[in-house]
Homo-oligomer: 114 residues x 2
């Protein structure tokens, strides 16, 4: 049996926690040749992706790939197999800010290292 990384399991866990706790789940992803994201949003070789239910469509968080459709600067980027960060390139599943608009959201952001 090939060794299985705990990382995708932890990403899914923290994604669910963010949803239940009222935080916005954001991924810090290192961009390389296998990471398909709009290049204009890459900074210092990294991109922050908001993967909340309100910001994405058709999100899948499986053991090898993270895929979703989303808008970048108003432009819809459609999920496909060539436009996805690999799970290995996720540096952290972090919360940068509480979900806005709620009256009972937590006020302090959380950050995790994976």
């Amino acid at each position: 049996m090939a060794e299985i990384s705990t990382k995708p399991y932890l990403i899914r866990a923290l994604y669910e926690w963010c949803a239940d706790a009222g935080f916005t789940p954001q991924l810090l992803v290192a961009v390389d040749g296998r990471t398909r994201v709009p290049p204009g949003f890459v900074k210092d070789g990294q991109i922050v992706l908001n993967i909340s239910a309100g910001a994405t469509r058709n999100l899948t968080l499986d053991n090898d790939w993270i895929q979703f459709s989303s808008r970048f600067g108003g432009i819809l980027v459609v999920k496909n197999s060539n436009r996805s960060p690999t799970v290995q390139r996720v540096h952290s599943d972090r919360n940068l800010s509480p979900i806005t608009g709620g009256t009972s959201s937590p006020t302090s952001p959380a950050r995790f290292s994976l």
Copy 2:
């Protein structure tokens, strides 16, 4: 909104990882007045619980309580609301040994701190 602990989310994630990776999920639980386990298996105020699918019945891993039926020294202990470790008392979700009997199980144990 009350603050929600990440711990139960991480316990569920590592439980699923152990199942997929061929490890035996074991919990190290600090025993106190709210923790209902057979006292003969408590050592230094702690108990190690094997929560694998093969060792438990009716396992539930929710945000506040972990409950299941299991055998301790051949004695069946039936799950009920007064016989469960609270999630707050879980010190670690650790793997102590690979599942025996398999030919393709990982050989090195894993350990996690929560």
